[in-house]
């Protein structure tokens, strides 16, 4: 138990010390949020709704980023630096190591969600019901699981540089095409039809529904779940192939 707590604590420390994380997951989303709700005139029909909508976009964008990038890159780093091998030789059981990573990651996500929600509430005086705040935060926390699974896929790559490069590009593509930067509705038809199949769109969509007084649709949940299964199977398959080699 002591080992588990200590492991969680250290995992969290490591993420917070990572400059990439602080920049991409906390500063960028808040700056973007400020720009697209206060500086640039978006001609939104309902400015209050737009401000709440875009806060969800940016929070989802942030949490999706740290899910995809932080976990995967760290896995590659630990493997290439011999740390994974060393840990296998200590009495720390694998499941404790894994669950500590997950708990650490969740704490980080809760922190990001809280910070960005607070920033939004302060910058634009957004007023949601306590239930809406809570539900949208919870949705973003749980909805990030398929992206964590995606992160472990990058974690199987050989080099930190490749993993960082590819995951970063994919992260941006998912964010833009999933309507996190600009709503899908204002994009060309072709982009829209692709976007509707991306996990990032359904991740954001659940939160957008909640702040408009609705609930995430079944389609949101089913598609995110399907992606989770695909990523997990893929990761299992690749791992088996790597072990055989």
């Amino acid at each position: 138990m002591k080992a588990f707590q200590m492991q969680c604590k250290m995992e969290i420390k490591r993420v917070l010390r990572n400059r990439y994380f602080v920049f991409w997951s906390l500063m960028m989303p808040i700056i973007f949020y400020y720009i697209f709700t206060n500086v640039v005139n978006t001609n939104a029909a309902d400015p209050a709704a737009w401000k709440a909508h875009y806060l969800m976009s940016m929070t989802a964008f942030s949490v999706m980023g740290s899910s995809i990038m932080t976990l995967g890159i760290r896995m590659v780093q630990e493997r290439t630096q011999g740390w994974s091998t060393f840990i296998r030789l200590t009495p720390l059981p694998d499941h404790i190591y894994f669950s500590a990573q997950m708990v650490g990651q969740s704490v980080i996500h809760i922190l990001s969600i809280t910070v960005i929600f607070l920033a939004g509430a302060i910058i634009n005086r957004i007023s949601l019901t306590p239930m809406e705040w809570f539900m949208s935060g919870l949705w973003i926390l749980l909805g990030s699981i398929p992206f964590l699974a995606m992160g472990t896929l990058f974690g199987l790559m050989k080099k930190v540089e490749t993993a960082a490069g590819i995951s970063n590009v994919l992260y941006m593509v998912l964010a833009v095409c999933g309507g996190m930067w600009m709503p899908l509705e204002i994009m060309p038809k072709a982009m829209q039809s692709i976007g509707h199949w991306l996990p990032s769109y359904h991740f954001g969509s659940g939160a957008w529904e909640i702040v408009q007084g609705g609930l995430p649709s079944w389609k949101n949940i089913v598609i995110l779940f399907a992606y989770l299964v695909v990523f997990m199977l893929l990761s299992k398959y690749i791992r088996r192939k790597q072990e055989a080699a």
């Binding site: 080992a3 420390k13 490591r14 630990e78 091998t85 060393f86 200590t90």
Partner: protein
Amino acid sequence: MNEILRLENVTKSFKYKTAVNNISFSMKKGEVTAILGPNGAGKTTTISMILGLLKPTTGDIKLFNSQSQELHVRQKIGTMLQEVSVMPGLTINEILVLIRSYYPEPLPLKDLVNLTGLTEQDLKTRTEKLSGGQKRRLNFALALAGNPELMIFDEPTVGMDITSRQRFWQTINTFANQGKTIIFSTHYLQEADDNAQRILLFKDGSIVADGTPQQIKSRISKKAVSFLTDPEKSLEILYHHSEIEQIFRKNNRVYIYSDHTDKILELLFQEKIGAHDIQIESGNLEEAFRQLTSENKEAI
């Protein structure tokens, strides 16, 4: 239970190469053993199998009478791998606190620092900013963190400066005196000679010699007596003594090879050769190593 480690007919074959070929040995509690051998002899492969990082192709390995994966075994071993391992993003102090929390009876942090020569400054440094030697010291501290019964080190002193190296062996000897079992590989033969009670010499995946440093040295290296004498003086009188295997002059110095150097000394005075500046050369480990691992096997 006195036996800490046992390998029985262990073989490891990779796709195109048999790295370890049917080796067997066991280690008792309190033994300090060095694994020697040229590059690619199979030292790291053997250590990896002992640690459970590699599975033997055939054969059986037992630590504390169990498989290496078992928790109680993991709690009793401390390791330094050939490849340096660190965790990015944390300071040395934090890593030590973390790793100590994995073990039931860890060594106090203060002891770890003293034993490994880490400085106050090192403790506050993040691992990505450490020099090679500092990383080694950290790895040594990590190996000791759980106060292990059995220590397994693969080339532990590579990259350490003279002071760290001295400190390292001092610490190892302290632990050896406490009855810890220690096994290490090295390319510095002097380290094996000074610190190990037993040497396992590997060559091409097999163990070609197993014994105390003294035994290994005496088994193969020729001993010699050498001395200075008047160049005019005839040495013919020595030739018919059967103890002498070989005799020759080199740069005014006479060399006599024989297994019985004491006897040769006696002869020198008996025969009044006028020998002075007499030196006895018993073989060193380096010579033994060279002969035992050289290509032609006649030497053994």
